[in-house]
Symmetry: C2
Subunit: 210 residues, 2 copies
DNA sequence: CAAACAATACCGGAAAACCAGTAGTTTTTT
DNA sequence: AAAAAACTACTGGTTTTCCGGTATTGTTTG
């Protein structure tokens, strides 16, 4: 930012959204708006030019918003990226933040909300639109206090599950009945509030239980 | 180590193993040997006394070797811990190292091997007995070069799998046939060389794909 | 422009996971 | 010693995964 202008890029494959955002952003005369409908085109662009700010759709045809976000912050670490999407899924939001985004907005955010978030993000804050805030605010699962404590047996079985062992195999290794393993498995599911092994392993890995 | 002696603790629930190790360690007069058959007893001990070196069985009755290892290195960070086990499973070895162990030995290691490893670990190295070395040396999966690259679609589906979605649910979200999802799923399995979602999610999480 | 890769879709069958219970035994804690 | 927690085991049933193919249509790319 050599002058007092701000270069803002919209990356979204939906032309209507682009036009809507541009209209809102006209409110702020100091913002120069660019737009891209594909991730690759944008990547090529920032290799040659400087962009201060990006509004990035997470559902793009040619590349996932998450990967794109990582690439952008890799190439231009000073660029501020805000995720933009129709529905807010907690895991996606976290992935975006984890890959360098400075915030996350829903497309149904009001004009004031949008401009407010841009200004706050510009000031270095992490911003969310209101709906996103409510999603991020609540439990997650057990974000802060107390990962539910698993018993010895449960941890042991959890590790074997994560190693890809079937209940039969686990039963064989531990000299127990398959039924016992399945009972333990269900208890673990309940404690960690997951529905299947996929989620189980993700949660366990993310909380240092593996 | 205030003098030139070394306090070494053996933690193993098998008395025969303890005696065997003690016999081998007599070779080195400067090593004072202690032994424990339960993890908790040992934890209590190190809260009051200093131990320089621990040979730690990973299969203990009261606590998993992995958890115990973490506790030990938490309480006494200067203590050197070597894992000790009958069979070497790669994942367990990695977990031990990840929790602060300085190496891993198989119980069938020779006396020279054992003493050699203790001396090298004492000197700050990470040590493995020979058999363990061969296990650690080979493939792993794709440890060093090239995590196989997944396509956009595959990554997208991988994330949905890790979120605990079933193939039906994924198909519904992406407006695709269940068959398509299952094909992608199998392709992902093959690329990442896993047999089921549990392993898949573990590998993916461990390699930053989630 | 081929060749390779990506994405889509389908079939049938075996194995495993998942669900909702119940219940006895052992270990730990109060 | 009583209560609580952990560990064990079983029944019976539904859903999903996993395996082994095959095959068509685009899209990149050498």
């Amino acid at each position: 930012m050599l002058d007092d202008h701000l270069t803002l890029a919209i990356v979204d494959d939906h032309p209507v959204v682009i036009e809507g955002l541009k209209a809102v952003l006209k409110e702020r005369a100091y913002i120069n708006t660019l737009s891209f409908t594909a991730g690759k085109a944008f990547i090529d662009f920032i290799k040659e030019h400087t962009v201060d700010f990006v509004l990035l759709d997470v559902m793009l045809p040619d590349i996932s918003g998450i990967d794109l976000c990582r690439e952008i912050t890799g190439i231009a670490p000073d660029t501020i990226v805000l995720g933009l999407s129709n529905q807010a899924e907690r895991s996606i939001i976290l992935q975006m933040l984890h890959n360098g985004a400075s915030g996350y907005l829903l497309k149904n955010a009001s004009a004031e909300e949008l401009l407010g978030c841009i200004e706050e993000a510009q000031a270095g804050k992490i911003v969310f639109s209101n709906e996103v805030k409510t999603i991020m605010a609540k439990p997650s699962r057990f974000d802060l206090r107390g990962m539910p404590s698993l018993t010895r047996r449960e941890k042991e079985i959890l590790r074997l599950i994560a190693d890809g062992k079937t209940s039969q195999q686990i039963a064989a290794v531990l000299f127990l009945s398959v039924f016992t393993i399945e009972t333990h498995r269900r208890n673990i599911f309940q404690k960690l509030q997951v529905k299947n092994v996929a989620e189980l392993v993700k949660v366990a890995a993310g909380n240092g239980l593996l």
